[in-house]
């Protein structure tokens, strides 16, 4: 019901208006003593106040009324002529001679205006609230995007929710790290009993949020981190009567925890949407942060492994070489006859021991080479040279060995071979390995041929299984081929020949006294030259090993 207060010392006037407004079902109240006016207004909070303008203190009174009741409509009752000075003080004016209808319609118009204004102000407030929340959401999202630190993400989420909803208390269970943590952000301090109750509540919440799953912690071992805004005051158990909301923080199968929020005033549906949005938004960056952390941990593990590998190689090269040197030296001294005459059978066993020392030393060198190349620590010395020179060196170095086995070692170098850039020492190592292998697997009276020629990548004919080795190559290359008439290699073993792990198990290479690492090393060395190595073989007929290096 509309409350009307009529202020006048004029009893007749009071009565006249009383008749108008009681008839129209208004709550009409009149005061003739000005001194009581303010107290009455404070107590009643009327919608419309009529002021009899026939009072010399009307301006003062009007000011006081505005102070205690700013929303009331103030209507001055004046003589037919309005004092211009009064115009700015009132919402409306009625004159003494106005008809009853005119007075009621003036009141109604002003009431409608008042309602409209109130509605406008309220929607303005809603709009401002939404804008503020949107702002909080936006700035929180920006913060989420700026970090991969899980604890910081949780902190930003709580701050964002506080900014948007201004809570009394939030309890955030974070499962982001190995140990579950309950983060309590509270306006006021909490007693130990209240904390215990909150912990208990967290366990119950865990059950409901994660579908009956048991909490991976209990009241006694749940770690608490407390942030209290005003530590001088304390919450009581009435806290649990506050309005509250709960949101799960998870993405797919990954659960990061949940957040419960308490507020003295009830939450609106918009608050709930905002709260859930922020809790959902933090899950994705938390997932990224988790993956990032795993990546860092894996990297650290890999680095450690790499370090262990280097240390191992260091041990292999140093700790094995030193005792090997002592063995070799002793054998040398014994074999030289400096310690007395060496019998024929003693010499047989001495040379057996020597051979195996050489072999062991070769294995250590190969291992060291391979790991150096793999670690990218092998130094190459690329210089312009002619590959035929390398072929010449290898032939002169190995022709004695070949001859002693009754093998014919010949070379067919392409004439006018152009120079190109390569590491001569390394390619000599490759070619020596290929020819030594050929000698090992070739019988008496057979021939081994080393040849060189210029080829274009497009015209290289190659066994299908090695096709991937050359598929990215183009342009001109220098090709070297070592052809033997030995025992050959089965097709299924061809690819394995260049695989260090497979070859190390190969009994054939063991029987022939090799380390088995020669070909894998050759492959790595040619990779470093941006070249390729492959082979072609027929069982019991012979093998052809090819390598190419680019012509630059």
């Amino acid at each position: 019901m509309i409350k009307i207060l009529f202020l006048s010392e004029n009893i007749n006037l009071i009565d006249k208006y009383k008749k108008i407004f009681t008839k129209n079902l208004y709550n009409y109240n009149a005061i003739s003593d000005w001194k009581l006016a303010i107290d009455s207004i404070i107590a009643d909070n009327p919608d419309i106040i009529f002021l009899d303008a026939d009072n010399e203190n009307i301006k003062d009174l009007n000011k006081k009324i505005k102070q205690v009741c700013e929303n009331a409509i103030i209507i001055f009752v004046v003589n037919s002529k309005i004092d211009k000075e009064l115009l700015k003080y009132a919402n409306a004016f009625v004159t003494l001679d106005m008809s009853e209808d005119l007075i009621t319609s003036t009141v109604n118009v002003n009431l409608r205006m008042k309602n409209a204004l109130e509605m406008l102000s309220s929607s303005n407030k809603d709009l401002a609230d939404s804008l503020y929340r949107l702002n909080a959401l936006y700035s929180t999202s920006s913060q989420f995007a700026g970090t991969l630190d899980k604890d910081k993400l949780i902190k930003y989420m709580i701050e964002g929710i506080d900014k948007a909803l201004s809570f009394s208390l939030t309890c955030t269970l974070s499962l982001c790290n190995e140990e579950p943590v309950l983060i309590i952000n509270s306006l006021y301090d909490l007693s130990d009993e209240l904390i215990s109750a909150i912990k208990m509540r967290t366990i119950l919440n865990f059950n409901s949020v994660f579908d009956g799953e048991n909490a991976p912690f209990d009241i006694d071992n749940l770690k608490i981190i407390k942030y209290i805004k005003y530590p001088a005051s304390r919450f009581t158990f009435t806290l649990f009567q506050y309005d509250n909301m709960l949101a799960k923080i998870s993405l797919g199968d990954t659960n990061f925890g949940f957040i419960e929020i308490f507020k003295e005033n009830p939450f609106t549906p918009e608050d709930a949407t905002c709260f859930q949005t922020i809790a959902q938004q933090v899950a994705l960056p938390l997932k990224s942060a988790t993956l990032y952390q795993e990546l860092i941990e894996t990297n650290a593990k890999l680095e450690k492994l790499e370090r262990l590998k280097s240390e191992f190689i260091s041990i292999v090269s140093h700790e094995l070489r030193t005792p090997l040197t002592s063995i070799k030296n002793s054998l040398d001294i014994l074999g030289s006859g400096r310690c007395g005459e060496v019998t024929q059978s003693a010499e047989k066993f001495l040379s057996m021991a020597m051979r195996n020392v050489q072999r062991l030393s070769g294995i250590i060198n190969d291992l060291l080479d391979l790991s150096k190349i793999e670690a990218g620590k092998m130094d190459f010395n690329f210089a312009a040279a002619n590959i035929n020179t390398v072929i010449g060196y290898v032939k002169s170095a190995l022709s004695e060995v070949a001859k002693s086995k009754g093998i014919n070692l010949i070379t067919k170098e392409a004439p006018d071979m152009p120079e190109t850039k390569f590491d001569a020492q390394r390619l000599e190592q490759v070619l020596t390995n290929l020819v030594s292998n050929a000698i090992k697997f070739t019988a008496e009276n057979k021939t081994i041929t080393i040849s060189s020629k210029l080829v274009n990548a497009s015209e290289i004919k190659i066994n299908d299984i090695f096709q991937p080795e050359i598929k990215n190559l183009n342009g001109d290359y220098i090709q070297v081929c070592v052809e033997d008439e030995g025992i050959g290699i089965e097709e299924k073993d061809l690819l394995r020949a260049f695989d260090k792990f497979a070859q190390i198990e190969n009994s054939l290479s063991r029987k022939a006294g090799g380390t088995g690492l020669g070909l894998p090393i050759a492959k790595q060395l040619l990779d470093a030259h941006k070249g390729a190595i492959w082979c072609d073989s027929e069982l019991n007929k012979g093998s052809k090993f090819y390598f190419i290096i680019p012509l630059v």
Partner: protein, 120 residues
């Protein structure tokens, strides 16, 4: 008789080097760690030093540097023995002043040849 100082923490290696060098008519002095090696080098002022790289207390590189920067000893040829370990590889680029390098395992006859090259 020319004096040769052999410094290596591996006694067996020292033993075999001593044997072949004495057979080749050199007087051998031995030390089994860097500290003793450096002290002995200054005491006896040998005609040549065979020096292992990896040794406890003072490594071969350090000894070589200390001797080569001292006018009194800088003319003594130093034959450095390395096992090509990674730690040594890192040091190889550094200036040590050694005159020759040999890698373990080495040929005893080769060592004798090198020694003779410097002393005869």
């Amino acid at each position: 008789m020319k004096k040769i100082l052999i410094v290596d923490d591996e006694q067996d290696i020292v033993e075999s080097l001593k044997f072949v060098l004495e057979t080749a008519d050199f007087a051998c002095y031995c030390a089994y760690n860097g500290e003793d090696g450096l002290r002995l080098a200054k005491e006896i002022v040998p005609d040549l030093i065979i020096l292992d790289v990896m040794m406890p207390k003072i490594n071969g590189y350090k000894i070589s540097r200390l001797l080569k920067y001292d006018a009194k000893y800088k003319n003594i040829p130093i034959l450095m023995v390395t096992a090509r370990s990674q730690d040594e590889d890192k040091l190889i680029g550094e200036e040590t002043g050694a005159d020759e390098y040999i890698t373990k395992p080495f040929e005893l006859d080769e060592v004798v040849k090198i020694v003779e090259k410097y002393l005869k």
